[in-house]
Amino acid sequence: MAVISYIEAVTQALKEEMERDENVFVMGEDVGKRGGVFQATKGLYDEFGEKRVIDTPLAESAIVGVGIGAAMYGLRPVAEMQFADFMLPATNQIISEAAKTRYRSNNDWSVPLTIRAPYGGGVHGGLYHSQSMEAIFANVPGLKIVMPSTPYDVKGLLKASIRDNDPVIFFEHKRAYRLIKGEVPDEEYVLPIGKADVKRDGDDVTVITYGLAVHFALQAAEKLAGEGISTQILDLRTVYPLDKEAIIAAAQKTGKVLLVTEDTKEGSVISEVAAIIAENCLFDLDAPVKRLAAPDAPAMPFAAPLEKTFLLNPEKLEQAIRDLAEF
């Protein structure tokens, strides 16, 4: 098993899928010669040429809309949104078109499109290069939203997304790109979309989260283990539609649940997790469900100390887990 970074997992998945299936192609702003502003598509232009690694005009609605058309024709486009924050001009194409084409055509047409988008804070990106956008889309039947936390999950789930016959939004945490490294098998593998994953087993408190916060939770859990607090960590991986069974099982196991998101709190995807627990686990709970999230303010400021205040960190998780354990 090789140890690679989160962004290398993205690049490898793209490369391998393009080698495997000539119908897969990549399009977006600066994905060509430049290899993407984060270098996620690095090397693809050289290997596959400008026909399959397409620099588009600066127009997100067209990137998604053209991707939809190409997907209806039978290809498997992977459209990059340069930053998740900038996918909003494409909202109509995503929600009205990509998500509804199969349904509205009574299964006649389908849209096997993958939309990749770097999201998340902690990179001095200011208000518009730091946001979590999943909640905007996590109420749209017909879409799948994948948000992996490790290189292993990135690679296996991006491949699954590309092979999926329905539109998938694949959010990549941009702070994790180079920060997070991990093992991936040498042989090819694909992971199932829609399945959460227990990243750590434990008996006292359950943390349910996704993305970079999974790593914060792992660090906090490690620390708390020394204090005798045993933490279970469920990584949602797919935030829409949610893996209800796994959520219910994880909540029931410890009876104390901390839900964590980097997004602002009200209306976030962990609200739905809380609702599922409230509907299904009332008599299994030993403490009220707790949510840890960003403040309900538009987005994190650019100035470093303000950004820091806005962001999650392992200490905030540690404290919240401890509080629950002591409840």
Binding site: P57, G69, A70, R102, Y103, D108
Partner: protein
């Protein structure tokens, strides 16, 4: 009168077929309004005034290979493209057998994979980038096809129009954008929609071929779309065409057009109605004889009667199917 269709390489048989389809579209449309007023179908959206442009366009394309993304007024176009009158009636009655959406969508929201007709939705102009995507994909695969898309002149002011046109221009894709300018976007007339003289004035900004033609004349439509298609096949990229039409009916059965335009204006426009003027042209040349006309009207009426009857009796989809096809269903 000059014989214009022979000059274009059309036989008399060809133009009679053209007229036949235009007339069928018109008669279907008229029937839909009757059915609506009789309370049998809840909603009608009309093609009246745009048939000539639609049918002429279809004749200029390869109906075995090309991909099309028609919009909700394109009854004439989809008929010429191979949808049957029965299928149209199933669509308007929203029955389970409707090939467009099994009654899930409103009438006129076409989509038929067998006919390489993309699935259309209600938010306007979203189909434009789709048509560009089809052309991009075909180019990538080395398939020599044309991708054809229509939309209204009001819709030409949506961002998606611009982004799609520019994308097609940059990649020199074989796309034909045909704007059916019927002078109104619901109640809003040209003056409050557009500040250019012609929608096709926008072609230059996308480095593409642009042309406005008489939307009441199917031969003008044919000529323009043929020129655009030839350019596309030669690798000369996309075209922006504009059919100058007029919407003869209210926007839909939910609209009252007398709140924003006058009867006199509509009456004046009716004088130029392509179905009438093309018939006059064919009569003048002796191509459309009284006998042929009678045969046509009777055959069409019979076809519409039967289709209506069939559709009215056809069942709705099972209500429990509302849960189906959200995602792919594996076996």
């Amino acid at each position: 009168m000059e014989n214009r269709h022979h000059a274009l390489g059309f036989s008399d048989q060809d133009v009679l077929k053209m007229y036949d389809i235009m007339l069928t579209a018109r008669r279907v449309d008229e029937r839909l309004w009757l059915l609506n007023r009789a309370g049998k179908i809840p909603f009608v959206v009309s093609c009246q005034g745009q048939e000539a442009a639609q049918v002429g366009a279809a004749f200029a394309l390869n109906r075995e290979k090309d991909y099309v993304a028609p919009y909700y007024r394109d009854y004439g176009f989809v008929l010429a493209w191979g949808m049957t009158v029965r299928e149209m009636m199933l669509n308007n009655f929203a029955r389970g057998e409707d090939p467009n959406s099994a009654g899930r969508q409103m009438p006129g929201h076409f989509g038929y994979k067998k006919l390489r007709m993309l699935s259309h939705s209600s938010p306007v102009t979203t189909q434009n980038p789709h048509a560009v995507g089809v052309a991009l994909a075909a180019k990538l695969k080395g398939d020599d096809i044309v991708s054809f898309v229509t939309f209204g002149e009001g819709s030409a002011n949506q961002g998606d129009f611009h982004e799609a046109a520019n994308f097609a221009g940059v990649h020199k894709l074989p796309v034909i954008f045909m704007c059916e300018n019927n002078h109104y976007a619901i109640s809003v007339g040209l003056k409050h929609q557009l500040s250019c003289d012609y929608v096709s004035d926008r072609a230059k900004g996308y480095g593409m071929f642009g042309k406005t033609f008489d939307g009441n004349d199917p031969l003008a439509a044919y000529l323009a779309v043929k020129e655009a298609a030839d350019r596309a096949h030669r690798g000369e990229g996309p075209s922006l065409l504009e059919a100058n039409c007029y919407r003869l009916t209210p926007h839909t059965s939910d609209d009252n057009d007398m709140t924003y335009r006058t009867k006199a204006e509509v009456e004046e426009a009716k004088k130029h109605d392509g179905v009438l003027t093309f018939a006059a042209y064919l009569r003048e040349l002796g191509v459309l004889t009284p006998e042929r006309e009678k045969e046509m009207e009777e055959r069409i009426r019979k076809e519409i009667d039967e289709a209506t009857d069939y559709a009215e009796k056809a069942p709705f989809a099972d209500p429990m199917t509302v849960l189906r096809y959200v995602y792919e269903e594996k076996d």
